[in-house]
Amino acid sequence: MKHDPHVIGLELGIFIALFLLVAGLGFAAVRWRRVHRLASIDEWGLGGRSFGSFISWFLIGGDLYTAYTFIAIPALLYGTGALGFFAVPYTIVVYPLVFLIMPRLWSVAHRHGVATPADFIRVRFGSPTLALAIALTGIVATMPYIALQLVGIQSVLQSMGLAGTGWQKDLPLIIAFAILAAYTYTSGLRAPALIAFVKDALIYVVIIVAVIYIPSRLGGYGHIFHAAEAHFASAKAKKAHASFLLPSGGGLAYWTLALGSAFALFMYPHSITAVLSTKDRKVIRRNSVLLFPYSFLLGLIALLGYMAIAAHVKVTNTNLAVPELFQRMFPHWFVGVAFSAIAIGALVPAAIMSIAAANLFTRNIWVQFVDRQATPEREAAVAKVVSLLVKIGAVVFVLTLSGQFSVNLQLLGGVWILQTFPTILSGLYTRFFHRWALLAGWVAGMVTGTLMADAVPNPAKHQHHFGGSVYTWHYLGLHFKAYHGAIALAINVIVVIVGSLILNALRVPKGEDVTRPEDFEEVTGPPLPPMEVGEPQPA
């Protein structure tokens, strides 16, 4: 590898040492808390469904607050100002939501051997087609999310000066991901669960230091906000639709972004994987209280964007704002620690996401449509291979297409996964809504959401498509600006309601539901034997 003169030995040394420590933990995880053989989806892909409050706190926190979060949310404040702060109401709303709905999912999953969101749809609605739609949405939305974790690592490597030429440029990234793929393959969900301890500890240390030390060097929070206010008052900022407070009419965009993102977060397969890996439903409720400090951390992380403004960081790629800020403010050794935190922060979610995508593919595509007679051993073997393929796919994706493309696709992924919300949420409470209406609503939401996302321009970046998350609606005599994913969700829900009324009135068969009302409330209780889980019904 070509050594750039700007690479600082100490920084890189600490980075490599911490990375190797984590890799060692990842491989050692295969022996951690092991009761059975690892050869089943429950063991490999859900950590034996055995994690208590303590481990889950680290695992869920490590899973949801990704490296990309630490890079992108401050970048959003740096670039657009107040609107980027929607991440705060988003994390405030998400835990009450988890508190209410996820224990129900946990109970029914525990009872019926459900390992993925699509598994739940299959047992609840008796429709492999609807389950397939949910599974495909999950996989397609997760892929660019994994790719974005790589983009997060890339920004850090780039900022450390590891930018050679040609294929050498990408070598560190490929090595990092190859090691990740190897230990995820052998240890399954136990690997990210163990690494999450290191990740969360590092992130907490770095952020707490950052939000105390950086303002002290920049003249305090008052000065930082003053600088940001002056920055957003400039003509250039106004042209880019950036502002220090929400513009008039911006409130709707703000809260629809927050609420839509909150609805979407726990529809992502990797969130559901983490939820189902807990040992009982109390763990989920308890953690929806205890994870709030992480949200507070996120709010402070967001402010790093304003600190970058106050520190006169000037970057065109806003994703480099935070790494640049760290480079300017911290001594070299701490930059090494901070960058390791971001990179390790990418590994935990990337591992869980690839496991979740692998579980989905195995359970809801492979076993459902190809290999009906698969034993648990064969399921685990397929899932392990798929987790490798998913990661290779993400690397190829990031290296061959532009980083902007992953960002665009991840934006779309959020819109898409949000369209599974009506099916999963309604399924947890009622069978009133018809499976075909839910499918039609999903199609309507996917199509309109994609079209709207495509139609958003970004004048500041000279983009004509996928320019952001806020769509200007001007149809049916209505004029407003809102999150396009939320508008698509509204269309989706309207189709679901109208469709269900019609299909129920026509008495179109609803599909077999093998769950019972009490399955959603059970605190404990043995899983049903496999025979009772219900044969897949032709839809």
């Binding site: 107040a82 702060f85 705060v88 109401p89 994390t91 405030i92 709303v93 835990y95 009450p96 508190f99 209410l100 305090g220 929070y221 008052g222 000065h223 906000f225 003053h226 206010e229 220090f244 407070l245 929400l246 911006g250 409130g251 703000y254 809260w255 927050a258 609420l259 109390k282 409720r285 308890r286 929806s288 209280v289 709030f292 400090p293 949200s295 507070f296 709010g299 402070l300 402010l303 409470y429 009622t430 069978r431 009133f432 609803k510 539901d513 019972r516 009302p517 009490e518 959603f520 409330e521 059970e522 605190v523």
Partner: protein
């Protein structure tokens, strides 16, 4: 026992509604340590959110314990929106 859960859900709903109405906090004044209201209020509300969710946790756990005492060994009487219509 239903009453305890209703209180818990009402608390959660109220907490979420406030933060989802940006006109409540979309202004500069009053500042706190030089931080505009828009920013510090939302950060503060994270702490409020934790306290409210914590209270909801205690209420729901108490309701669940009551349920287990009322009907040991069974899943309890019909509750909430359970099965819905079939």
């Amino acid at each position: 026992m239903i009453a305890l859960k209703a209180i818990a859900y009402a608390l959660l709903l109220g907490e979420c509604l406030v933060i989802l109405i940006p006109s409540v906090y979309g202004r500069v004044a009053p500042k706190l340590f030089g931080i505009p209201f828009f920013y510090w209020f939302q950060l503060l509300w994270i702490i409020v959110g934790m306290v409210v969710t914590g209270m909801a946790y205690l209420l729901v756990e108490r309701a669940d314990r009551g349920r287990e005492h009322a009907a040991p060994g069974t899943a309890g009487p019909e509750r909430e929106a359970g099965g819905g219509s079939r």
